[in-house]
Amino acid sequence: MPSASPSATTTLAGTATAAKPAPSASKRRRAATRRTIVRAAITIASVLGGLLIWEFIGRVVVNNSLFLATPSASLIALGDLWSKGDLQKAIAISGEEFAIGFLIAVVAGTAIGLLIAGFETLSLILTPWINGFYASPIIALAPLLILWFGVGIWSKIAVVISLVIFPMIINTETGIKQTDPQLIEAARSFGASRMQIFAMVSLPSASPYIIAGLRLGVGRGLIGVVVGELAGARGGLGYLINNASQVFNMPQLFASVIVLAAAGIMLTALFQYLERLLVPWKA
């Protein structure tokens, strides 16, 4: 494009790019990199700024570690817990409870969701229960589950399953039901069987919903682990939190919460990455 339109030249007048209406590929790439850096900088500034404000309020305004531990005190407590080996032990226990519960809930939840989407009678039988359990604060039943399954890891696994399985079921079913009927029709016109329609149309079409269910499940599962451990446990991050709060050791309490938050952020990021990998057509 040798001749830039007059309107373009007037709006861009004075800038170096005015003569070239179409910036080169390398220039566009550099601009994109710049945007990424600016965005990352804003995120980091937000986190650091928030921590600074927290530190300031903790030190100057509240100035009482009983009511508000500062980030620096929490970090020191975190280091202490680590050097004593308590933190690793707690992470191992909570991690195991979360992993087993999450895995069982995801596999069973997806399977039940698929069955419900495929068989209407089953859906009629199960839907009121699923919706009921999903809507109710099942977490309140945690003490009951401790009573049933004991203070070991299996009671926490049960709590995690009870929290993660319902969104998995509902998301899977919704995903299958949301399949574009025109895509089903197109497959049917080639003579596709019910199984083929399921495998080649419904399942791939539902996969973004299923992955969204996984992401939703991460937060709920972590809550399940902690609440389960608060209700009765001999180890784990919830157990650490419980101990810390009983002796008013607020830095240790915050330290445990920070570990949980970090785990939540990392797992969510992992599933976001998985989403980009598994459903590239949505990107």
Partner: protein, 264 residues
């Protein structure tokens, strides 16, 4: 034409939706390799007719047969080109075009080569790895067409495949379709709202009437092939278009009035 030589034979076909008769006593024979268009006002049952021929929808009385075999369900001898491109967003152009072959368990090295040639034929060479969202409407419609042609259908059923395209793209696609059809040698049943499109493409145009849907007139288009786009400016062409428009004008007016006065 004689029924014994018909590729597609429809006899006394009737279809009801509850109490509403949507198709009434359809009788038609279509010869092998013939290009037949169906025009008619909205609600004349042309899409229903096409879906019945494909086996996507049941019918009440009469018979539909291809080479003497009664149609009861979709089969590998037919393929349907939908109005909406209905491509799978998670499949690439190549993979979308291959889905019919996959469903029918016919994918082979030989078919892979043919599919490559077919994608080139419909003008998609170099776009095999693109996802549908990266394509224009016209290109998506080409994939839709390639997907149907990939299974080598004896009868190709097309339901307003160019309706969503802009006028220029549409003109180009019409010429392309004729080129592809003469190479693929399949029998085509083509629904359209555009009378000139029907005349330009077809050996015969079936004019459907409404309430109930029926064949009002079966018109042979005697224009020499291959047809250049310039044929549309000949007096013969204009005469065909004028004649068909005369047949359906009042019915179209009626259906338009209904659509604009009745709450839908």
């Amino acid at each position: 034409m004689n029924g014994a030589h018909a590729k597609l034979a429809v006899r006394g076909l009737t279809k009801y939706y509850d109490d509403l008769e949507v198709l009434s006593g359809i009788d038609v024979d279509i010869a092998e390799g013939e290009f037949v268009s169906i025009v008619g006002p909205s609600g004349c049952g042309k899409t229903t007719f096409l879906r019945i021929v494909d086996g996507l929808e049941p019918y009440d009385t009469g018979s539909v047969s291809i080479d003497g075999r009664t149609v009861t369900k979709p089969g590998p001898d037919r393929a349907f080109v939908f109005q909406a491109d209905s491509l799978q967003p998670w499949r690439t152009v190549w993979s979308n075009a291959a889905i019919g072959l996959e469903i029918q368990h016919r994918m082979s090295a030989d078919e892979r080569t043919k599919l490559g040639d077919l994608l080139a034929l419909v003008g998609l060479k170099g776009f095999e790895k693109y996802y549908p969202r990266q394509l224009s409407g016209g290109m998506r419609q080409r994939v839709n067409l390639a997907r149907a042609l990939a299974v080598h259908p004896e009868v190709l059923l097309m339901d307003e495949p160019f309706a969503a395209l802009d006028a220029q793209t549409r003109e180009i696609m019409q010429t392309e379709l004729l080129r592809i059809w003469s190479a693929a040698k399949s029998t085509v049943l083509f629904i359209t709202h555009q009378i000139d499109e029907a005349v330009y493409l077809s050996d015969r145009v079936l004019v459907f009437g409404r309430r109930p849907g029926r064949i009002q007139e079966d018109i042979r288009i005697d224009l020499p092939r291959p047809r250049a786009a310039s044929v549309k400016r000949t007096p013969e062409f204009t005469a065909y278009v004028g004649h068909i428009w005369g047949l359906i004008e009042s019915a179209v007016r009626e259906s338009v009035m209904e659509e604009t006065t009745l709450p839908v």
